[in-house]
Amino acid sequence: MFLIRCPYCGEAREEQEFSYAGEAFIQRPPLTCSDEEWGDYLFKRKNIKGVTTEQWLHSAGCRRIFVMERNNVTYEILSIYTFESKRGAA
């Protein structure tokens, strides 16, 4: 159980309000890709032990998806940001 600070609500809320929404920043391949590339896109994940970049959904709150960098061994949350802010920073 941890507290997650939702970047849209601007408040720390309990984990129960959120849902995990998978690995972040997975590039969708072009429509001309091979079956193998498409299969990798759909099913293959990095499954990192350590610092991961994940998508989380504030399902019971503002219902927005944001990005969380988290160490899945220590459960330490390193950073939380929105997709919009990442786009702005790049």
Partner: protein
């Protein structure tokens, strides 16, 4: 085939509200209000003009604008607002909103039947609700704040427009379960 006859009943119409009617903990269902979901990004072209026409000022995150007498606009998400208004004004409001927002990337949806709208008061209201809710309603819900959270495993929208009471909206399909949870949690205060 039999003609479809709509039934106008709230989810808790069959419940005995006298069971939760003490000075310590009192629950009433408010049946004379409609609920309209407005989805619009206030920065969209034309949105500001349309919202001004509807007399809506866009609330900051976790706050509300307006009042329950005309329309109470609640922040639900960055481009989603829940509007509670008297049932008698609902249809006219939706019509006006659709007209005003024509051509703007926005949606106006009547969700009046989707929620049970409760008025919760009594001296022990926070003691009862803290058994069910994740959120610190006593400490972190001042007047004018609205939170969408979880209570008794159900998604709820809680807000305060008065000092001595809370307004709580729970989804229609969870209302019966939520009612049972309230009855059970308030047992010791009745």
């Amino acid at each position: 085939m039999a003609k479809f006859e709509p039934q106008f009943a709230t989810a808790l119409e069959q419940q005995d509200f006298n069971r939760l009617n003490s000075a310590a903990f009192k629950v009433q269902e408010l049946r004379d209000y409609g609920y309209v979901v407005l989805r619009v990004d206030a920065n969209t072209e034309g949105a500001a003009h349309a919202l001004a026409k509807l007399d809506i000022s866009v609330p900051e995150p976790l706050t509300m604008t307006g009042s329950l007498d005309s329309h109470l606009v609640k922040w639900i998400g960055p481009s989603e607002y829940g509007i509670t208004l008297p049932l008698a004004q609902k249809d006219a409001f939706i019509k006006a909103a659709k007209e005003a927002l024509q051509g703007v990337f926005a949606a106006v949806v009547d969700n009046s039947g989707g929620y049970s709208f409760l008025h919760i008061s009594g001296t022990q209201r926070y003691e009862v609700l803290s058994k069910l809710a994740l959120y610190d309603l006593r400490g972190q819900l001042p007047l004018g704040k609205v939170v969408s959270t979880i209570a008794a495993k159900s998604g709820v929208i809680v807000y305060r427009v008065e000092e001595e009471s809370l307004r709580l909206m729970v989804r229609w399909s969870f209302a019966q379960h939520f009612w049972n949870a309230l009855v059970k949690a308030s047992e010791e205060y009745r």
